[in-house]
């Protein structure tokens, strides 16, 4: 993306205002406001069921909001007149369970959206895909099918698939929780490289150590509410809110910090 170290744009890349989401009568998001600036990496933390995944799915229009507004580069993407399919292609979403397409080869997984959504020619799409795969050390796997890859390799392909769309920002939903411990590192290394290149990232994570190293800002969700946000040194080390402290104490008990 662009040169690193420049001051953040005045208009945030992503801006969420008053997000409300219910499943049936159960409120899952109860009025959430936050933003993500250009080149910023924001980590979403919170207990299981606190609404992290729902939040990511709502801002990327994979789930319909019950109330609130989401702006991408200042454009209201929750406006029903916006082309939702186009908007979705501007987010690169990576899921906990990879969700690669099992009937397509690695190369076909990566080139599907550029070809179908953006009308890029096959040759050009494959060229770019091979370049990206090469970057993550998976060029040799281009013709393999996903079930022949390790979890870490699958997740890196999923990240490449998201990047191939040239998204405005990446949304990562616990991209390492389905991986064996020895495979976590290779995926986290890739995320860190992307950050160094200036990719804007919003990621839900249980990896507190990683959040602390990589995130510019940490957002703590509890029961569908944004309880606290700030630099990782504050939120993860000396949080202001009692709820955050409780959560971190439990995480430390579980040996994850």
């Amino acid at each position: 993306m662009s040169d690193d170290g420049s001051p953040p744009n005045t208009v945030p890349v992503l801006e969420a205002e008053g997000l409300v989401k219910r499943f049936g009568s159960q409120p899952v998001l109860s009025g959430i406001d936050f933003g993500v600036a250009e080149h910023e990496v924001v980590a979403l933390i919170g207990a299981s069921g606190s609404g992290k995944s729902t939040l990511l799915r709502c801002v990327s229009l994979l789930e319909e909001l019950d109330d609130g507004t989401v702006r991408l580069d200042g454009d209201d993407i929750t406006d029903p007149r916006a082309d939702a399919d186009r908007v979705r292609s501007r987010f690169g979403v990576v899921f906990q369970a990879f969700n690669l397409f099992p009937h397509l080869s690695v190369l076909e997984n990566v080139t599907l959206a550029p070809r179908v959504v953006h009308g890029v020619s096959r040759a050009e799409a494959e060229d770019r895909a091979r370049g990206l795969l090469d970057r993550v050390g998976l060029a040799a796997k281009a013709t393999e099918y996903p079930d022949r890859l390790s979890g870490g390799q699958q997740q890196r392909v999923a990240i490449v698939r998201a990047l191939a769309n040239e998204p405005r920002m990446l949304l990562l939903d616990e991209v390492t929780s389905a991986l064996d411990p020895e495979l976590v590192g290779e995926v986290l290394r890739l995320v860190r490289e992307l950050k160094d290149e200036g990719v804007t990232i919003l990621m839900a994570t249980h990896e507190m150590g990683f959040a602390r190293q990589v995130a510019d800002r940490v957002v703590f969700l509890d029961d569908g509410r944004l309880v606290e946000q700030g630099p990782p040194e504050v939120v993860l080390v000396d949080p202001r809110q009692a709820r955050t402290r409780q959560f971190l104490a439990r995480v430390i008990d579980a040996g994850r910090l």
Partner: protein, 288 residues
């Protein structure tokens, strides 16, 4: 007789013992199965050949001369069956897939379409094919509408397509349901539209999974194309009927039946092979 050490030098004695035991068991089962089959066939054949009416039945059902004489007419009828089969099979796949896709549409806008598709599959899966053949084959020409075909071949084909598409739609729908929603979500997250996600991601996976049951339906259709004879279309069955009336001998029916078997066997083998391959893949945990 233990498996000799020279053959499997890398195996432990215990494993060689196990192999030996298993081979012995397999040999005994094969022997038992083989001999019981031979005994059964011998008894069955003897009972039939020694039955009091065998002479008559033999001349009425197994007359080689009649078989040879009737074959050209029946084969010509069978060619009609093959063409009807090919047309119907393609139409059934298209209609079945379309109906299945309609039933997966979500949102209140599509409620009427969903309802129609559901009503169609419910009605035509329950409706006896033979009754439908009569209704379409004799009812539609009775309307005397301009431009509506009256040929028994076409109308018989329509009845077959109506019935079989309902079955096939259900097979496709089951296949679509087995594709995990996260696949659709991944496709949508990349910006694919509902239709693109369906075409590029959901249906290819669904179709792979339902190929074995579809082949079974295809075998059933191969026989059921013979039913257009009840409308008067001169297919293999009708041609055989004409020959039977001419020769006062039932052999032509047997000839027609053998032709249908000859058609079915390769498909059944193919279905078995596809089934076995699918089972192996499942075991390997993969899908590809």
């Amino acid at each position: 007789m233990t498996v000799p050490a020279e053959v499997f030098p890398e195996l432990s004695l215990a494993q060689r013992d196990r192999l030996t035991y298993r081979r012995g068991q397999a040999r005994r089962s094969r022997l038992l199965a083989g001999s019981s089959t031979v005994v059964f066939l011998a008894v069955f054949g003897t009972v039939i050949v020694l039955s009091p009416g065998w002479e008559r039945v033999q001349s009425q059902f197994f007359d080689l001369q009649v078989a040879r004489d009737s074959l050209p007419a029946i084969a010509e009828g069978f060619w009609l069956n093959l063409r009807v089969l090919a047309f119907c099979a393609v139409l059934i796949l298209v209609v079945g897939l379309g109906v299945a896709a309609l039933r997966t549409l979500r949102g209140p806008v599509f409620a009427p379409l969903r309802f129609l598709a559901a009503a169609y599959t419910d009605i035509f899966r329950g409706f006896p094919l033979i009754v439908l053949l009569y209704l379409v084959g004799f009812g539609v020409p009775g309307l005397r509408l301009q431009g509506v075909p009256t040929s028994p071949v076409v109308l018989g084909g329509v009845a077959l397509v109506l019935t079989y598409s309902a079955y096939v739609a259900e097979v496709f729908r089951a296949g679509i349901d087995t594709v995990h929603p996260s696949q659709r979500m991944a496709a949508r997250s990349l910006g694919l539209t509902y239709g693109q996600s369906m075409r590029k991601v959901v249906l290819p996976q669904a179709v792979r999974r339902v190929t074995p049951p579809l082949l079974n339906d295809f075998v059933a259709l191969q026989k059921d194309v013979g039913l257009i004879s009840v409308l008067g279309a001169v297919d293999a069955v009708r041609a055989a009927q004409i020959e039977v009336a001419r020769t006062y001998d039932f052999t032509p029916y047997l000839v027609a039946g053998l032709l249908f078997i000859a058609l079915a066997v390769p498909t059944v083998r193919l279905a078995d092979w596809v089934n076995a391959r699918a089972a192996r893949r499942q075991q390997a945990g993969g899908l590809t």
